[in-house]
Symmetry: C5
Subunit: 354 residues, 5 copies
């Protein structure tokens, strides 16, 4: 299956608002989790359907609704209606091949992002779509898959550490995006370390596995870039957004997000260039090796072919070859041959082939 | 015939408004189809001339006029006059080598696009020009060729599924462009899959068909890009258009179109880069193979040329070659030769040529 | 002489307004042609000096003054004074190495362009400067050389076909630029066809003429681009110009011009990329051929060098070589040799070198 | 450890404002230095904790507070509170992998930069983060490491040379950045000199150390660029900043800074291109060498293989080889061989292989 | 010494306004020349110090002060004070590694440019800094070196030819810049001609001098670009400058300057691309040659190695080799050999290796 573009065959000609799940794999059941908090109170519930989850919504608190698993369209639609989401947004939540983007409407600020996970076992990066919806007193997050991704945030909320419990929904919203962005950095760093490690091997080694590795790194970096580049546009939009949902006190944090993503993109570009350099270096080494092989061949050929020729001369069966009958001819021939060989070796040494 | 630029020889110096058909192939007869609908009523007619088609136009309904086949200029002109189209627009409809673009005038919003079709048999992509004209209560679509392209939309209209029958002409207009854009994604995905499939073959294989394939993919991607890039400009224009013909309720859909086309372009770029990498990889493999060939040659030469030389020495006919007469000389020679060969093999193994 | 930059040695330090002709070749005499027309009347005169030409100017009609040949500065200056052209403009008309540009002053809109002609005989493109001056009731065109370039327009004017005779001077102005732009398309198409033709040859062929051809095409495309790129800036300026000399009714035509030039530039870029691909393909083929040559060499060497060695062994003159005296030794040797050769051939076949 | 991206593993999910030091190495103790001055007075103190340092702060003078060593968060936070710095800024001061940037708030103008030091011993460049905070009557500088970096400025202040003592805090602020920028130029110049030196070696030499050197230079230039490019954005921001902290009299100096950084970037790009050229040149030389090796091989093979063949012919033991019995056959053979060899040599000379 | 960045070692940490001369070479004494003119009068004086030069300044005339030689800081400073130049500007005049730029203050418009001189003897281009200061009734020009650069202008002034004597100081200012720009064109043209000349040699020739030449041209073009690119920014700034020192009548001339510099940059880019193509072409030719060498080797080896093998067979000393005793064996062997050689030659001819 194409990795860079999820198959859309069954989408052509469909009405927008028709929700088709095209994600990586389906969980058996979606899972709903709601956390309602203010400075003093904190409630946490986990349910298996939208309806019962919605009953736990607190009017005077900030609510974080997290939905894991997107294939049950009925449930998603129920959430959508409760929070006044447009059909287009619902479609995009479910169709998980969206380009990261921001959609702003009257009640909500919707952000589509990719969350990246680095698989250490095979040095690969995977992407899952995450949709964040910021409302007056709620944040909704839709994830393709259950993950331990935001556990640090949740733990800090439960233990009331940091600013989240004393802030509005927009700060939580920021914290979630910040976690995603930090993770981009982690992934870039992980691939980057592999790239930098390769650096030293490449000058010594020209076996074919290295070339495969280099192209692998290139593809992973390219895959990360596909997620990060539009994410940079997202943070830029957020930075410039005039939505009343983002309070003045949260603005500096959003600006900081933007800096992190610019930094990410620049680092990606640097690794991209490094990989390009490694490929060139590999090819140069290959040529160097080819030259070495050829030199060995040429030295052997240039020394022994003339000597064999001389031996061949005195292997002829002419009746009259005067040299054959002189007593020391054979030794003289050896002398000539050794001299010739030494001369050739000196010549090649002067040419720096030896 | 040049594929990337249709021949224009007979156009130079011609007055604008002079209509010259330069399309791919001509149908025998153009076909006119008109569908008039509102929420309750739906009428559909097919005629062979413009005049009779125009009699079916409904004032109080939305009319979708579809014209297949563009070589009969008289008919096209008749349609043009009925809907107040400028001569320049009519010329561009017929001259099917237009760059995708938007033209806005008082009564109409005219959009020129390419519709792409992927030919699975030879993995190629073809482009036909489609012109869409949005008016107050009508959409006109001009196609070079009859195709099943919009059948899904038509079927949904007939069965009154979805929002079309309850919306204005601008929503139909959007749906047609959306179908075209979805098709871009399909074509990109089809070529993209071929590109990604190639990936694994390339590391193992250096036969010459692969290089042909890679360049084929490159050209198809390039061909798709030629259609998609200006289409992105079109959707951007529509997004920013202030035409009163596009109602506020349709705006979010238009914005979504723009996102799809940006996504398309980014995916195209990624495949472009991948193809470039494949070419480099192919060349690197070629060099690797050349090195392998050379190593084989060098190993054979370096081992056997010296041995042959030794044999040559004792094939000389000198009267006085003391070694020849010693009883075990021949076996000693064999011993020396085998030793030499083994030394060479060890040397080459240490050099990792074996 | 440098083709991409006409020699300017004698211009340094000269005052502006000093007119120096640096064009391709000089006609013996400049030629002046004036056509005055309105809907009903049409007069055409040809003279050899500016003064007599100016007497034919019609106040109440549109006048098209065409001057072929730019080396007679006195005549050019006379025209300049009659139409109030600034010395800088006059200098630029004569110094035919101007970058295409627009100059707007109170009375005139001056456009400098290159007109391209494709020489089918040697597949090359030539550029001549053309200067167009739009005034209230006149268009003046300065050409380096007499050409049949605008004959189609003239013929249509004489026979009163099309809109020219019924329109203002700005429409004629547009038609002249349109003809030039159409010609760009023709030149691009002509070179483009050569480029596309090459495509198929390149996979089969690596003779050295092809590489020369490819670089030729590249240079011609590059030469065309040098003319078209700034022309695009010119049409963009015209599109955005607020000059009262361009009437509202002519605006859509000017916009269309801009589209044609954008289309031209995009096509140029596509062919540029194709040429780059062809060069890479050529180089890849070259490597493929080198590999083939090396394989042939290696196969011959690897098979016959060991066999020759064996023969050499039994050509030695040792007194005691037991094998020599066995009756079937010679045939056994043959058997060993044939076996060895077959083994090698199978080995090379498995390696896909055969 | 990844050089281009400091490890951030322990940062993910952390709250902003949580200060984690990720710098190069830790000093045992941070060092605080405060210099208070106006035109007449100058006081200088060095302390080991923030509290005692703050007691030396002069209200009516300009204060330059320099902090070397950033791992003691408690102390940093104390400084932060004294000058009303936001937690985000404090975090960024300590987390020394910030992209250079400007943060403006009500009381302070905060600038994050990299200071580069060129290590002559191994031709490498190191970067340390420096944070500058401009307030009404103070400048605070945070450095990762103690360095002699700003000693020239300090010496001039002590001796009351130049404009610093008679100017406001913004001039000191400018002077510090100017010193950093001058140092960029120094680093670029140092690497640049190595690059230009290489130029001449490269045409003569193809040993493998040179290729390593070239890639080293590339990486150092790339490393410098990583610091300078965002610094250019910083100076541009300062140029356009409307902060009341920068007085009109200091503006021209800030503009000058911007010019220096544009100049730096352009020089970096030139060296980048030069390095690219050197790599290509190296590869071209490699091919040239390969050709030379092959020519030697071919000449030896082409001359001696046919001669050996001839000798082989007369080494055959056929009963009836008439030539063998002619008295001068052997000498004739020599004659033929020498002639053949000369013909071959002439042929190769004509081909310019000799 | 680094050519692309003059050494700045002794500048780091220095106060701005400290003037350090880092130019190419020092003249023994600076030279001051003052020309005062209006339509009727013209006075010209040459002095060796600033003070006496300043006494010749005419209030009611335009004064052109030219200073050759910049190492005597005291004199420069005296001029600076007389015309109210800021210390920063004075520093930049003397420190001759400035990036071309414009500085505008209340009384003066200061322009820093490079003047290029083409050294025909070694095909190299040199750059010297020139600083131009435009005031109400004066133009001051600072040059690193005495040169005949502006002699054409001076001669025209003395003989009262052209517009200078009748115009304000801004026209003189324009004329000086125009002369510099014309000289850019000359330098580009000179190198360009060398580049175009190379074109034809490159297809025929692969000797190593050509590769050196190509890189030389590249570096000269790169050097020119370093001066011209920022000069384009300068003319653009002048075009948009709102300084009251530039009168309306001089504006069109300034616009023309801008066009010349855009044209220069475009031509530079074209030559840059051409050089890149030449390098690729050279490398392709190199590969072609390598293939040719290999073909020669392979043909010799493939023909003679099998033949030598055959001869070797009949050189063996087996007791029983039946063929040896047949009377015509030797001649049959010759026949087989010749046939084999012909077959091989035909095979290679069919492969187009011959």
């Amino acid at each position: 299956m194409a990795r860079f573009l999820k198959s859309r065959k069954n989408l052509v000609g469909q009405a927008p608002g028709a929700m088709t799940f095209i994600g990586r794999k389906k969980m058996e059941k979606p899972r709903f989790r709601i956390m309602s908090y203010d400075e003093k109170n904190f409630r946490e519930k986990e349910t298996v359907d939208a309806a019962s989850m919605l009953t736990h919504l607190q009017k005077n608190a900030v609510n974080w609704i997290n939905i894991d698993g997107l294939h049950d369209h009925k449930e998603i639609m129920e959430v959508g209606m409760a929070f006044n989401l447009s059909p287009l947004v619902l479609e995009d939540i479910v169709n998980t091949d969206q380009r990261p983007k921001v959609i702003e409407d009257d009640d909500n600020l919707v952000v589509f992002l990719k969350q990246l996970t680095y698989e250490a076992s095979d040095h690969s990066v995977h992407a899952d779509q995450i949709t964040l919806i910021l409302g007056e007193n709620y944040v909704i997050s839709f994830q393709e898959e259950v993950g331990a991704f935001f556990n640090t945030i949740r733990e800090r909320m439960r233990q009331n550490v940091g600013k989240i419990r004393t802030s509005n929904s927009d700060y939580l919203f920021y914290r979630i995006i910040d976690t995603i962005a930090d993770n981009y950095m982690l992934c870039i760093g992980a691939i980057g370390e592999l790239v930098e490690e390769n650096e030293t091997n490449i000058l010594k080694n020209v076996n074919k596995e290295i070339i495969g590795k280099i192209y692998n790194h290139k593809q992973e970096i390219s895959f990360i870039r596909k997620a990060v580049r539009p994410a940079k546009d997202v943070t830029k939009s957020l930075k410039n957004a005039e939505s009343k949902l983002i309070h003045e006190s949260t603005r500096p944090y959003i600006n900081d997000l933007d800096d992190i993503l610019i930094h990410s993109m620049e680092t990606i570009e640097i690794y991209y260039t490094m990989i390009g350099d490694q490929l060139n270096l590999y090819n140069t080494n290959l040529s160097n090796r080819a030259n070495d092989v050829m030199k060995v061949l040429t030295i052997f050929a240039a020394i022994f072919i003339p000597l064999t020729f001389i031996a061949g001369i005195y292997g002829t069966n002419f009746d009259n070859v005067p040299e054959l009958h002189y007593k020391y001819s054979y030794f003289i021939m050896w002398g000539v041959m050794v001299t010739l060989a030494i001369v050739m070796l000196l010549y090649f040494r002067r040419k720096k082939w030896l």
